[in-house]
């Protein structure tokens, strides 16, 4: 039987605010345990949480970018459950009245566009960090650090419109790119500032009703999201094919084994008993505020991609890669401003620059070559001072040392040899050393031409101007 998977994603994004959502403790990552805490985030009795305005602003921004309706009236609710990382015995979240709902996100799948519905975007507080081992401590206990408690989160819930691990991964990448453009979240999945859970079920193709769903947790990279979901789809189909039933349960992805494991028995039955939090007053954003935020929205990845294709005459593929991050797009535009040949700049960034960054696992923000330096290299190349091949060497050196293109070319004596007389002498030498080759060529075996070019390049350590070499070589071989 043919099956189809029904997947909805729940994404948690840590917001880039300076202070926590309901108190003034810093959100800075990496501080010594429990030093960024106060009576509010420790959940002491009698304290009063007060909402950080920036959190609402970030949520509205995100809601608008995801084409949601921003609610005229929004309320915080208490989600009640016990877990040691939650000092109050409840998490302040939103339930009945989320700040934004009914939006969508368009994702690109091999040339076609698919629209994924966004059910809701709501605000909530993060929980603390549980550690199961700490250095020098007795075993048999868990340890709680409340520094993360109260760090603001957005929960972004998609409709069950996703059909494969691949689609889920692309959805997540597209969403991450938007959150980064909006500067609301740094999108770091390894450090947990962007987390993803999935609800997934399968059903025979053509059936209307959904199957029983499992909840997948702990997928902290795009690759793991794809792997975990693809594994889970196969697993559920197998269970059904063997006449079994799918349990509604939470499952963890084990990235080492590439499988999902049931968390059965490790969780109490959920009964969150949500109710409006009486400590926090309702939010009514009002049209003016929403319009103000809308007007200040930056150009988003999709719009930027379209503009690059239109204004710089770039292929769609180039525009998409260059607009994945705002920093990369800015880098490209600055280079083009200084060296107005967009396609040449794009080619260089996509092949040479991104290759080196990827090798060192660096972001464009950490690129040692500035757009000014790269543009200077293009000018050196354009003047014919060095060939494209040498330019690649020079670029690698610029990347390693941070020196300018001019300095490297001068110091290493890499200036291209375009002097006809000089090249002629070398060609004469090469031809004299290979009389057999010359004869072959004259007997019609033109393939040896490439061999001669190679020899000349070898003699000049790649510095000979290839155009002039070709021209003189052709003349010499004719006679």
């Amino acid at each position: 039987m043919e099956y189809e998977a029904i997947i909805g994603l729940e994404v948690h994004a840590q917001l880039l605010t300076k202070s926590k959502i309901f108190c003034s403790c810093t959100t800075q990552f990496g501080a010594s345990p429990n030093t960024n805490t106060c009576p509010v985030c420790l959940g002491m009795p009698g304290v009063l949480p007060v909402l950080n305005k920036k959190v609402v602003e970030c949520a509205i921004k995100t809601g608008l970018a995801l084409k949601c309706e921003v609610a005229p009236y929004s309320v915080f609710a208490r989600k009640n459950y016990f877990y040691p990382d939650l000092p109050k015995g409840y998490q302040i979240s939103q339930y009945e009245h989320p700040l934004a709902k009914n939006g969508y996100l368009d994702i690109e799948l091999e040339g076609t566009v698919k629209r994924i519905g966004i059910t809701r975007v709501h605000m909530e507080e993060d929980a603390g960090k549980l550690m199961h081992e700490i250095e020098g401590a007795v075993t048999g206990y868990s340890y709680v650090d409340f520094n993360r408690t109260g760090v603001p989160l957005l929960e972004i819930v998609s409709e069950p419109d996703i059909r494969s691990g691949e689609e889920a991964s692309i959805y997540l990448q597209t969403l991450r790119s938007i959150l980064r453009y909006l500067e609301v979240c740094d999108g770091n999945m390894e450090e947990g500032s962007l987390r993803c859970d999935a609800n997934i079920s399968v059903r025979p193709k053509g059936q209307k009703e959904f199957g029983t769903r499992a909840e997948l947790k702990n997928m902290n990279s795009f690759k793991f999201v794809r792997m975990a979901l693809d594994y889970e789809i196969e697993r559920q189909i197998e269970v059904l094919e063997e006449g079994g039933t799918i349990l509604q349960e939470a499952r963890l992805f084990d990235s080492k084994q590439g499988i999902t494991i049931s968390m059965r028995g490790k969780e109490e039955a959920h009964d969150y008993r949500y109710f409006p939090d009486p400590d926090l007053v309702p939010i009514e954003p009002g049209k003016d505020w929403v319009e103000e935020i809308k007007a200040a929205l930056p150009e988003l990845p999709q719009q930027k991609k379209e503009r690059f294709t239109r204004d710089y005459s770039l292929p769609e593929y180039d525009s998409r890669i260059l607009s994945t991050s705002k920093a990369l797009a800015d880098y490209f535009e600055e280079c083009v401003r200084l060296f107005p040949q967009p396609k040449a700049v794009s080619n260089w960034i996509m092949s040479e620059l991104l290759r080196l960054l990827k090798k060192d696992n660096r972001e464009i923000e950490e690129c040692p070559v500035s757009p000014q330096q790269l543009a200077a290299l293009f000018h050196v190349m354009d003047k014919g001072t060095i060939s494209g091949k040498i330019a690649k060497q020079v670029f690698e050196e610029m990347y390693e040392t941070g020196s300018s293109a001019e300095d490297i070319v001068r110091k290493k004596g890499l200036t291209q040899v375009s002097d006809g007389a000089e090249i002629e002498t070398i060609i004469a030498k090469v031809l004299a050393a290979n009389p057999d080759g010359v004869e072959k060529y004259r007997n019609g075996n033109t393939k040896v031409f490439g061999f001669f070019v190679g020899e000349v390049m070898k003699e000049t350590k790649g510095k000979a101007n290839p155009k002039i070499v070709n021209q003189i070589l052709q003349e010499k071989l004719k006679t």
């Binding site: 605010t17 300076k18 202070s19 003034s24 403790c25 810093t26 010594s32 345990p33 429990n34 030093t35 960024n36 805490t37 106060c38 009576p39 420790l42 002491m44 007060v50 909402l51 950080n52 305005k53 920036k54 959190v55 609402v56 309320v75 009640n80 016990f82 877990y83 040691p84 549980l130 550690m131 199961h132 700490i134 250095e135 020098g136 401590a137 007795v138 048999g140 206990y141 868990s142 340890y143 709680v144 650090d145 409340f146 490790k266 109490e268 009964d271 008993r273 109710f275 409006p276 009486p278 926090l280 007053v281 309702p282 939010i283 009514e284």
Partner: protein, 95 residues
């Protein structure tokens, strides 16, 4: 009865509370009384009153995104029943 003993037991479990048979009976009776009283409140005509979770109508109370000093670590940990390595120590949670 507005509430069953099973429901009271369930709520006790969710609140991580344990009660004796006698207590369970007493609480079931008391909670039943409370819920019965709501019938009395329901007699009030509220057709023109919007539901609210607040006694006074206040909206949009915000603070600016400013960092203030957190409290001293020893104060933070003062209420911890057990502590170690600057952390709250709790019974082992198996992942």
């Amino acid at each position: 009865m507005k509430i069953s003993r099973d429901q009271v037991e369930h709520i006790a479990l969710l609140a991580r509370l344990e009660f004796s048979e006698k207590e369970l009976e007493a609480f079931t009776r008391q909670m039943d009384n409370i819920l019965t009283y709501f019938d009395k409140l329901k007699e009030v005509d509220t057709t023109l009153v919007e539901p609210t979770s607040h006694a006074i109508r206040v909206t949009n109370v915000f603070r600016e995104d400013e960092v203030k000093k957190s409290i001293a670590l020893d104060l933070s940990l003062k209420n911890a029943p057990e502590q170690e390595g600057n952390c709250f120590r709790v019974p082992k949670i198996i992942e």
